[in-house]
Symmetry: D2
Subunit: 304 residues, 4 copies
């Protein structure tokens, strides 16, 4: 008898429920004033001063204040302090049961093809608390603030040569050192492309790379509780109407199905969508409640 599994997702504090990955800081109100005050500054001056402003803000947050800060905020701010001092930031993650995928800012789409990762989510200049956003959103916003004032910079170049990615390396409960080696080669390929390492030893793998915009990266929530047979394979386009999963309702096995003609009492339920999608990850347990996040998928995706 296996009565139940409590599998907490590691990205949440098991006591307070806060998502460790959404506690980073970004204060948009400082952007426009900075641009106005440094309207004529050189790129070097802009880079140095703005970076210092970001660091000062975090140090202010971390500094002892009378009320203290939460455990998660302290961790996040300490990581962010390191991140603000770098030009390239890679936040390495794993997911529950997951294919490899990459979160990449929209302004540096070309970089995505240097990793050996087949699925990329392009994210806009909206801040939702994540590390990658906390790193590039201030600079992107600054570039736009200058643009509003009539001074044009190119994101990803000069003072604005900031790149930040969340690199999702697959399932969190699977360690495979051969796969890890391959992951490392992909990261080296990106770093060589950016000139962090010299030479031309690393070539990104040839593969079909799919991308979609963050707004099209969709979660599918289970319409009912039950046991789940996950059917859809990661990274393989699933036609409209094909089942992503079958949900098994043990409690309906003994029910006289003729009783309700609508099929709601059936022991097996196919979960389908009315459009083609690309499955990226699914829940870690075969036992779900009504409303559990079953799958995350790309819709309206495209080849890079």
């Amino acid at each position: 008898m296996n009565c139940g599994i409590l599998n907490t997702l590691g990205r949440f504090d098991p006591i307070t429920g806060v998502n460790w990955n959404r506690m980073y800081h970004f204060d948009e109100t400082v952007i426009a004033p900075f641009a106005q005050q440094h309207i004529d500054a050189s790129q070097e001056e802009i880079q140095a001063s703005f970076q210092q402003l970001l660091i000062d803000q975090i140090e202010q947050k971390l500094d002892h204040n009378i009320w203290g800060i939460t455990t998660g905020q302290r961790i996040a701010y300490q990581l962010q302090l390191m991140a603000h001092q770098a030009d390239l930031v890679l936040d390495l993650h794993t997911g529950p049961i997951s294919s490899k995928h990459l979160y990449c800012p929209e302004y540096i789409k070309a970089s995505a093809s240097y990793f050996d990762i087949p699925h990329t989510i392009f994210i806009p200049n909206d801040f939702d608390g994540a590390m990658d956003e906390a790193t590039f959103c201030p600079w992107w916003s600054l570039q736009q603030a200058y643009q509003d004032l009539g001074r044009n910079f190119v994101m990803g170049e000069g003072a604005f040569a900031k790149e930040s990615f969340t690199v999702e390396l697959g399932s969190q409960e699977q360690i495979d050192l051969d796969v890890a080696h391959q992951d490392a080669l992909g990261i080296l390929s990106y770093l060589q492309y950016k000139g962090v390492i010299s030479g031309n030893h690393y070539t990104p793998q040839k593969m079909t790379r799919y991308g979609c915009y963050l707004k099209d990266y969709k979660a599918l929530y289970s319409p009912m509780g039950g046991m789940v047979d996950y059917l859809a394979e990661f990274g393989k386009p699933l036609p409209a109407g094909e089942p992503l999963a079958r949900i098994l309702r043990m409690d309906n096995y003994c029910v006289d199905e003729s009783a309700n003609g609508d099929g709601s009492g059936s022991p097996l339920h196919n979960i389908c969508l009315d459009r083609q999608v690309l499955p990226i990850l699914h829940f870690a347990s075969a036992s779900v409640n009504q409303g559990t996040e079953l799958y995350k998928v790309f819709q309206d995706y495209f080849e890079l």
Copy 2:
């Protein structure tokens, strides 16, 4: 040997970390258009039509959509559907280890004194996802939208006679039927005041009632991990400089204290504030991490 306690706070989904109490719906964008379209409507018409609009929005959310909704959203929307059909909404809660306290909208301060609850937090017209806010914020916003159009209504009267409270009834792991009886009398006192029940059987208890604004209801996070001796009593003003708690660092008992003169290696640390506060609740466990929410307190409080 008792190596550890995992005491998850009940208001969070233990799997996904979402706070069950912050999933309610409020769409501010519908307010101004409604006021414009119903600028000359009678109060009866306003009440009926706006209530229907709120209900329709929730039903739309609950309606089967292709991607589904999360477990917590489904529960919240079903509760909200009931709440939108009522004039008075009481959301009964308990906390970890807690005194009794009341969340009350600022526009109906007088109502707070009819409950037998000594501490009241007055909340503004900001929506942060809670049930009480989800109930009164739409009406308050509507009243303001009419005001912007030159038509003045009084919040808490006529079509706008909506009241909503979160009633915090103390510690969640303590059931005392005598106290529960007293709590019930306080609620009856409020309901009699509002005319829900007739007669004059119920009189609120004489007690000193303290209030503060939501912005002054502060959490104090632990500056270090350790074992906590909670010293400050709930509901008793604590002078500036008096310790709220003592934190015991077992790991420092064997340290030669002369080694570092700043006291950081001391086994005992008093946690004080530089201002007078009124302690309201504290954490449920004696074992805390750096950053754990130790106490919640009123600052800048006043007598009602």
Copy 3:
């Protein structure tokens, strides 16, 4: 960042830690007296009276007594009440991450080959609290008690035609309806062999079936904490000296390895055994502590 996973094994009560599968009842002291009192009874009488004795004992346990019984005991006794009324008992289980295996009493080895399960553990007449043991141990003990008195019965025949198995159907977080169908065919094959269903529709699959004795079904505990790359495949004989797993110590990656010549500071550790084994299951997480059960394996196994 994924800071931690709490994956409780479902066979334990998450509050009290009791193993749901080890709460069944067997009181050896009633066996010898029963045999003496029924020394000349017919097999029909023995079967009926002894079964009634077992049922009476459980009902006595379940009956309201002044101190009550634990949650787990109540569940176990209710299941056992059902089991004592059957001749054949199949207790269907799943494990963390696991191959299919069968627990089979030593006296009915032939039955093991009718299931489509490649690995069988033969269990002696020792009671350790499990459902299968609770079902056959009383009868086996009774047969031995009669033997001591000079009356010989054959276990598995006549009054003693009791068979009981724990059928481990693989990994608990994997639902695959095609595999489930295959599992069902194997169970039907066994039931047909025992005459529960008639005909000859079901033939056990041809496969190499391995067995070992319970004393040779060994757990391997991790010699250190770390991240685990599970290398050994289930059901495939692993030669002595070949690694079952590699343990990755991230904390040792930055250490100067020349510092300690014994390799204890190495980031990679192969976990090997000095004898050939047959891997059956492994732990569900890639993150382990020193002392976590890494693998369970057959040693001194043989073909059936």
Copy 4:
């Protein structure tokens, strides 16, 4: 809304469910052979040789063996290695919500009155895996083995001057440094009595001290699930028929009670016993299942 609390009891490994406090080692089979081999040895020789035997056994267990040992075993054996080298062993514990109580071997009843603890459980020479038993059971068994061979020693004196207690210092989530100071004085009083510290500075407090035998230290399991109002006070004799607790069944509040005359549908249930008891501890949460351990109490207790 507070939907649920998962409060794991700290004495269980949250992953594997093993009770950290029941993993100590005692091998009774070595006792009789030792007594025979050392039948004429001096008390000094007996003490030194037997202690070395106990230590050797633990070191053998801890020594690297091919299969390893579990996390809990490693911790237990390391503690036991320390304990075997001492004459007096105090295992300091706390419980869920609990009065202070003491586990004391039957052969040294007099020692119990030197602690400032009002409730003592006297334990016999049976080994159930606990630290205190693991410390004194070998010596008690050895004394008995010598007695069987005609040589009489007094437990608690000479080579057998071994004392071991589990000191339960109250509720695990309550830290009170004033109470801790009082606890320390009681322990010093015992140590002074045993001559570990000299002088006569410490006098045990005058108090009514109650004792009972381990067999009379009883757990009461809840006959139903519900919300619990714990009524019985710790350390205060509760007459037969007086309620220990009231269980509140919210689900029965709306039921027409006239429907079933037996009261089973009543919203309130008093939990009583048919004999006088002394309540010692109760469960930590107000929410219980059928079968949750509600209270532990002394029956057939007496004054020391």
